[in-house]
């Protein structure tokens, strides 16, 4: 990566050149400053709140790690973490798998590719609240898919995951994957299209079959896209509050609570802001554990020229 901050002709340092040196940093400064305040400043504020006895609104009375103690002895927090694990792993894996599959299939020179691509992508355009409500309807045993199947003749069909405490989280996976796998597909499709055609021609000349070409050459070349798909899916999975709220509202019972749901409920509904802040801090720590390694590899890669 060429460094252009030095003047083109050495030795001549005019005010214009000085301006050119300082200007980039000036341009970047507002974004940087705003990020420091509105991201890191607020994170620090939350960290501080997690060690106070804040209830409905922030209070500044220090109580140490009491809130963290309460957090870990709350069965709903354990449920939330487990649900995040189940939801996160399934959501990321299935989105990636479907995204990759659809991308590969769409890559095969089809005339209606544009239309199909839009069909797979459009769910992303619909807000989570609407998605959750629609799927809640569809998966409702009395109203939705069940009733449809019965009226079509398959009276033995039952799909009651939505109301089953053990299975409800998987219905959220279904709705979530439906919503975002199109976007993952788009990422993979772009990646596929970026593969150098010379390599492929060489492989064809060497007699490689289509599946072999995909498996041995193309997919390994797409490692960066896998990483991006992972990060974007992980980000969406962790933030999943609207979807849960609309589909199950944490139910049946408290079986579909997630950390984002927990944070919102404790902070805004139950007036336990200190506890909510503690859960937020743990959530942030989890997110960092996933994101920071990615950023590190991203930065190292960036320096390559």
């Amino acid at each position: 990566m060429a460094v252009i901050s030095e003047p083109a002709v050495a030795g001549r340092r005019s005010p214009f050149d000085w301006l050119q040196t300082i200007l980039p940093k000036l341009v970047l400064a507002p974004s940087f400053a705003v990020t420091i305040v509105c991201v890191y400043g607020f994170i620090l504020f939350t960290l501080y709140l997690s060690m106070t006895n804040s209830a409905m609104l922030p209070s500044f009375t220090w109580v140490g790690l009491v809130q963290y103690g309460k957090l870990w002895s709350d069965p709903k927090w354990t449920i939330s973490l487990v649900n995040l694990g189940i939801y996160g792993v399934l959501y990321i894996c299935i989105s990636t798998a479907i995204g990759l599959l659809l991308a590969i299939l769409l890559d095969q020179r089809i005339r209606i590719e544009g239309a199909l691509r839009t069909i797979y992508l459009y769910p992303m355009a619909i807000s989570f609240i609407v998605t959750g409500t629609a799927w809640k309807w569809i998966l409702n045993p009395g109203l939705g898919l069940d009733k449809l199947m019965h009226s079509l003749g398959w009276t033995g069909f039952t799909f009651d995951w939505l109301i089953d405490g053990n299975m409800a989280i998987y219905t959220i996976v279904i709705a979530g994957v439906w919503q975002s796998s199109g976007f993952v597909m788009a990422m993979f499709l772009a990646g596929l299209r970026g593969v150098d055609s010379d390599i492929l021609k060489a492989a064809a000349i060497d007699g490689a079959t289509l599946p072999q070409t995909y498996r041995r050459i193309i997919i390994p070349l797409m490692r960066p896209v896998f990483l991006s798909a992972f990060v974007v899916s992980a980000h969406l999975a962790i933030k999943s509050f609207d979807l849960v709220k609309a589909m199950t509202d944490g139910g049946p019972g408290t079986s579909t609570w997630t950390p984002a749901f927990y944070m919102y409920a404790t902070t805004f509904t139950r007036n336990q802001m200190g506890l909510g802040a503690a859960s937020a801090v743990i959530m942030l720590a989890t997110i960092s554990a996933i994101i920071v390694p990615y950023l590190y590899s991203e930065l190292r890669g960036g320096r390559r020229d």
């Binding site: 083109a8 940093k25 705003v34 509105c38 355009a125 998605t131």
Partner: protein, 300 residues
């Protein structure tokens, strides 16, 4: 990248039956997926064209016996959002007034940031980028109250400019990411020769980079538009009153009212209306989206 298929097809000989069969299988799989993806939309559209009695009586997929656009009319101009019974149309304007400036401003800032971070390196710029990027991942609930205080201090509470400010602040991370990755792949020779010719910071940006940035601009616009238009949390917290209420908050008021008859047909119509601008943006610019992503928005 149909080069793979091209390569495969370059193998001499006629299309074998296996290949034809595989082709049919391909269409079958894609078709099944398409049906699954379209199913919820179909349910929503079909429901929005039925009368309320039909909704209660029938099942999900049955086509309306007496199709009516009355739910759509109601959703747009007469359904009640609180005490104002004028449908969604007023809030549409609020959403546009919020989304368009926010998208534009965050895109411009992201472009400039990406430009600086890739063409005007300085010590520590990697750290700066990383710090900005991490901002993409904070859950919004954390920033709700501190940001409320900040908006109050800035005199922007409960207003559209306030919402624009919030969305710009939390959109900068993604726009910077997209532009930075794109400009990283942009050839430096062009820039260097411009510098030698005496072009300055902004001239290079305006004359050289920006004209060649159409794919990534479209990508950024689509991503930002989707996220900002569909946002609910900031909308309800910072514009809970009637004046600046975006369409997502209004939709929530229609759909989630705790009592009263649930007019599912109107709700579905309202939900589709609220989603239309984003759907339109996706359809029109879908091609650019994939092309833009290819140009480095999310590649590592």
């Amino acid at each position: 990248m149909a080069a793979v298929t091209d390569a495969a097809l370059m193998v001499p000989g006629p299309r074998s039956t296996t290949q034809v069969a595989l082709r049919w299988l391909l269409f079958a799989i894609l078709g099944v997926f398409a049906l699954v993806y379209l199913f919820p939309l179909f349910v929503m559209v079909v429901t929005s064209l039925k009368t309320l009695d039909e909704v209660r009586a029938g099942n999900l997929l049955s086509l309306p016996q007496n199709p009516t656009v009355e739910p759509w009319v109601s959703a747009w101009s007469t359904t009640c959002v609180g005490l104002t019974c004028e449908g969604l149309k007023g809030y549409f304007l609020n959403s546009i007034l919020m989304t368009v400036p926010a998208v534009a401003i965050s895109a411009v800032i992201g472009a400039l940031n990406g430009y600086v971070l890739t063409k005007w390196r300085f010590r520590g710029d990697g750290v700066v980028f990383a710090l900005i990027l991490f901002g993409c991942f904070i859950p919004f609930q954390i920033v709700l109250l501190p940001m409320a205080r900040t908006l109050g201090l800035l005199g922007l509470a409960s207003s559209t400019p306030g919402l624009v400010f919030v969305h710009v602040v939390y959109g900068i991370c993604f726009t910077t990411l997209f532009f930075r990755n794109y400009y990283a792949a942009f050839p430096n020779d062009l820039v260097k020769s411009a510098m030698i010719d005496g072009a300055g910071f902004f001239r290079i940006f305006w004359r050289i980079l920006l004209p060649n940035s159409v794919p990534i601009i479209v990508v950024t616009v689509i991503w930002q538009f989707t996220n900002i238009w569909n946002d609910f949390l900031f909308g309800v917290s910072f514009a809970g009153g009637g004046g600046a209420m975006p369409v997502t908050v209004a939709l929530n008021n229609i759909v989630n009212s705790s009592t009263g008859v649930k007019e599912y047909n109107v709700h579905m119509a309202a939900a589709i209306i609220a989603a239309l601008p984003t759907l339109v943006v996706y359809v029109l610019a879908g091609r650019y989206f994939v092309r833009g992503l290819m140009a480095g928005a999310v590649k590592g």
